[in-house]
């Protein structure tokens, strides 16, 4: 029974986890906007979420998560010191990701409320 409950919430909790990982990555990109030879990194969110949710939950080590595959972003205006961070793009991704995190959070909250009203009647 508990298994079914956590399976019900799994998609959105995985989405939330990946969003926070991506947010951390984008924060690294913004902070290193002026570091020589730094390459901006990101991962494909849709693919990472597919991979994370397709896997059956391992009962032996439920806390273990698959790290998403990173790629280096292609810079449209690379700088001479080898830094590939495009600050405008990174800030846009950062804001976008924060909003989508909030969306996942809200949906998860609604799911919890639905479950709660089913329990309380």
């Amino acid at each position: 029974m508990i298994d079914k409950l956590s399976e019900h919430l799994r998609f959105n909790s995985e989405a939330l986890r990946l969003r926070s990982t991506r947010q951390q990555l984008l924060a690294s990109n913004v902070v290193n906007a002026e570091t020589p030879r730094y390459q901006a990194q990101d991962f494909d969110f849709a693919r990472a979420l597919n991979e994370a949710t397709a896997r059956p939950v391992s009962n032996s080590n439920p806390g273990r998560h698959l790290a998403p595959a990173l790629y280096e972003r292609v810079s449209y205006q690379p700088s001479l010191d080898g830094n590939s961070v495009d600050l405008d793009a990174e800030r846009a991704h950062f804001a976008d990701n924060a909003l989508r995190y909030e969306a996942a959070l809200r949906i998860l909250n609604m799911q919890l409320k639905t479950l709660l009203s089913a329990i309380q009647g």
Partner: protein, 144 residues
């Protein structure tokens, strides 16, 4: 939880940018510090940024392909090797035999540009930290 690491990341950025601002302040303050006929004249300082893992456990796991929390740190403070500015002013007490005074090789325009860039980068980091704070505060209300 990755969101907590954002505080360390943005914090490292703010520390590095404030150190950069510090060198700018030092350079601008010493722009007219004259040196005597043989003593060394002040030369402009610049910080060198380097990306660095924000916590020790992360640098150990660097072999993997995981999302690493990369902050920034000041790897070195370099001094400019450009020759000092020589100004002809025979009445200056520090003037040498030919009447020249050596002034630091600080370029005021460069320093002002550096200052604005550092200030903007600092603001960016504050913005990042604020966003992370809002996200965490919203996460805390989950289920209520």
């Amino acid at each position: 939880m990755s969101l907590f690491k954002i505080f360390s990341i943005a914090g490292s950025g703010m520390a590095a940018q404030s150190q950069r601002l510090n060198t700018v302040a030092s350079n601008l303050a010493n722009v007219d510090s004259a040196a005597g006929p043989d003593s060394k004249v002040y030369s402009a300082r610049q910080v060198v940024f380097q990306s660095a893992a924000v916590d020790a456990s992360d640098s150990r796991a660097s072999g993997g392909n995981g999302a690493r929390a990369l902050g920034v740190r000041v790897a070195a403070v370099t001094t400019s090797s450009a020759p000092p500015r020589r100004v002809h002013d025979p009445r200056h007490p520090m003037a040498d035999k030919e009447g020249y005074v050596s002034l630091p090789n600080v370029s005021v325009v460069d320093e002002m540009v550096n200052m604005i860039a550092a200030s903007r980068a600092y603001q960016n980091n504050v913005e990042v930290m604020n966003t992370a704070k809002t996200m965490l505060a919203k996460t805390l209300t989950l289920g209520s």
